[in-house]
Symmetry: C2
Subunit: 255 residues, 2 copies
């Protein structure tokens, strides 16, 4: 669909290629593994490592990846940042403190929602101790900053991959902001709900506690509103019938 | 501003109170600490723990919190979920697999951008091993799902807190999607840029390599476009003058 060759596939049919993740000089195998896990969470597939201090397929990395071994097994290792970026078209550098740079800075959301179509892109992350060096950042098209509490904005490596990956993943899907789940059941039809309300009303009207018709009407309107608002399923309606019967039985016995 | 009493403060002046974070039966002190760190990243302040297996102020938790000890020191411990939620008005339950529930499900983004004003809200998270139990979920107003790769959507506790907190934090600020940083310098005025272009043009025109006026004009338009597009700062302009001089010196000497 996109005409882009190579391992990267099309995401969301918009001509956006799946970005590569480049970790520059990562220090800890556990973080490499957790970064792979975060990538898997977010539909990212291609990991590139520049001069890692630990192997991506060490036991520690594989264990930390939590079933994302495929990403680690396919990870490519490069000697220099330039080599790792050479076949990409657009690279964004993730850094919380872009010092001494003249460059555009994107929020994670802006970067993810403005990935250029039909270009091979990458998100680049620095090492745990110091982040990306200025020389690495100077090779990137723009900087990504994750907007966080400025007094406490440090993320570990895998968390940074996760948030930027999460913003990318959101662009590949269109989740409904809200939906209603029903435990496999169906929301009861109005007819069934009204039948229950009628039954309930019948029981209520038998009560000696009702003051007058005005009071009764107000009570029944409240009851109608509560149960109509609640999107009751057929299964729940059965529970409600059961409860009304239980309460009514008590009344029969007690008063 | 909001008339809400208690410890929670107003966020972003919209009458939205800062949500509490409720961790139900967390198992590992390290995760309690990392959740506190994620909360601090995202401007969340109030941690509530339901029957935690480890103390929030254990050495492990404090170390994992990475300078978020204040959140752990102020964390309140409750025996039951009901007690932990009792003084809240609206509670969202974070769970990846909302089984056997009849309830609304919000994406993290929807939940964060639709927090009710002037109500005390909370985000509730389950334990590492099993997540929230159905009884806990039934106490929540709605469910929050983080949209992630459905084949690999498991997040650890602190990561779930981080992503939902991140979506909350974004609603409290209005970051510019893109901005241009200049290493403290100023982007050169057009006058200064044109002066440099004139100087460069003068040097270029001395070259015996120029073919004809059409070729020269095209070359100079390209040069003008490149340098105008690049938002060059005054400091960078000095670097460019230096480079032109270096190259021109070479020409003088060599050819």
């Amino acid at each position: 669909m996109t005409g882009v060759s190579g391992a990267m596939t099309d995401a969301g049919g918009m001509g956006i290629t799946v970005p590569a993740v480049i970790l520059v000089k990562p220090q800890l195998a556990e973080n490499i593994g957790m970064a792979a896990r975060a990538m898997k969470n977010c539909g990212l597939k291609e990991m590139r490592l520049v001069a890692p201090e630990q192997s991506p397929v060490s036991e520690t990395a594989l264990r930390a990846s939590s079933n994302s071994e495929d990403i680690l097994l396919n990870a490519r290792v490069y000697a220099t940042t330039r080599e790792a970026l050479a076949d990409l078209d657009t690279v964004y550098a993730a850094t919380a403190r872009p010092r001494h740079q003249v460059k555009e800075v994107f929020t994670a959301e802006y970067a993810a929602t403005h990935l250029p179509a039909r270009r091979r892109t990458g998100f680049m992350f620095g090492c745990e101790r110091t982040g990306l060096e200025n020389e690495d950042i100077s090779l990137a098209d723009a900087i990504i900053e994750v907007p966080l509490n400025p007094e406490h904005c440090s993320l570990n490596l895998a968390q940074a991959v996760l948030i930027i990956g999460y913003e990318y993943y959101k662009t590949t899907i269109a989740p409904e902001g809200r939906r209603f789940i029903t435990n496999g059941g169906e929301v009861a039809s109005k007819e069934k709900l009204f039948k229950f309300l009628d039954a309930l009303t019948g029981r209520i009207r038998q009560s000696p506690r009702l003051k007058d018709e005005e009071h009764t009407r107000s009570l029944l309107i409240n009851v109608s509103n509560i149960f109509t608002r609640a999107n009751i399923t057929e299964q729940e309606l059965n529970s409600l019938y059961g409860i009304v019967n239980i309460l009514s039985d008590g009344k029969k016995d007690g008063k």
